[in-house]
């Protein structure tokens, strides 16, 4: 069974540009989460989808971040315009029960 997949694995963009991260959860998982880890800090929650609905988006840092999950399958996280402090690794995770499976992350560097 395929795990949670994320694309791109690495991205380097200039400040002010736009980046879109994609996450394909494990098939059949209704819960999809986005997390972010800035270098040396804790993994911070961004938002949680249940199917196509946003269950909790309290962790989204500001309106430069937009997440979607059309059709309740894959999800995208767009950062527009990117700022230097957005650099870090963005993890997507999915679950159907108590075990949460993480993708390998999208490593974003804003220069």
């Amino acid at each position: 069974e395929a795990g949670v997949t994320q694309f791109p694995s690495h991205s380097v963009i200039e400040k002010g540009q736009t980046v879109t991260l994609r996450c394909d959860p494990i098939s059949g998982h209704d819960n999809l989460y986005w997390y972010r880890r800035v270098m040396g800090k804790e993994i911070k929650f961004l938002l949680h989808f249940v199917k196509e609905s946003k269950q909790d988006e309290s962790g989204m840092p500001n309106n430069r971040f937009l997440a979607e999950r059309t059709g309740g399958t894959y999800s995208t996280l767009k950062v527009q315009p990117a700022e230097l402090e957005d650099s870090g690794v963005y993890f997507c995770a999915s679950s159907q029960g108590n075990t949460i499976y993480f993708g390998e992350g999208s490593w974003l560097t804003v220069v």
Binding site: N31, Y33, Y35, K41, E42, I43, K44, F45, H48, V50, Q55, D56, G59, F91, A93, N98, T99, I100, Y101, F102, G103, E104, G105
Partner: protein, 110 residues
């Protein structure tokens, strides 16, 4: 909001020594989950503790949940180089997001 504290932030041991990381919260934890992230990798679920005072073992790893459900620990006996990585605890409540501690990064020298 709720915070989960984890100490130490870094720990270096010689191979064969023991290692412990501690997790605590000022509020009662729902369930504790532990994750391991290898360098350059992603968090991988290790275990979930649910009951007050619960103790679970996975080979050389021992996980404990405090009686008051406000703290937890992960103990590794006789560390090996394959144990290197960052260990995170997280408060988990079904249907909500994980709240992670800052993690303890373990390095092991042979």
């Amino acid at each position: 909001g709720q915070q989960v504290m984890q100490i130490p932030q870094y720990q270096h041991v010689q191979e064969g020594e023991d290692f412990t990381t501690y997790c605590n919260s000022s509020t009662t934890l729902s369930n504790i989950q532990w994750y391991k992230q290898r360098p350059g990798g992603h968090p991988v679920f290790l275990i979930q503790l649910v009951k007050s005072g619960e103790v679970k073992k996975q080979k050389r790893l021992t996980f404990q949940f405090g009686e008051a459900k406000k703290n937890s620990s992960l103990h590794i006996t006789a560390t090996q180089t394959t144990d290197v990585g960052t260990y995170f605890c997280a408060d988990y409540q079904a249907g909500t997001a994980l709240i992670f501690g800052k993690g303890t990064t373990l390095s092991v020298s042979s």
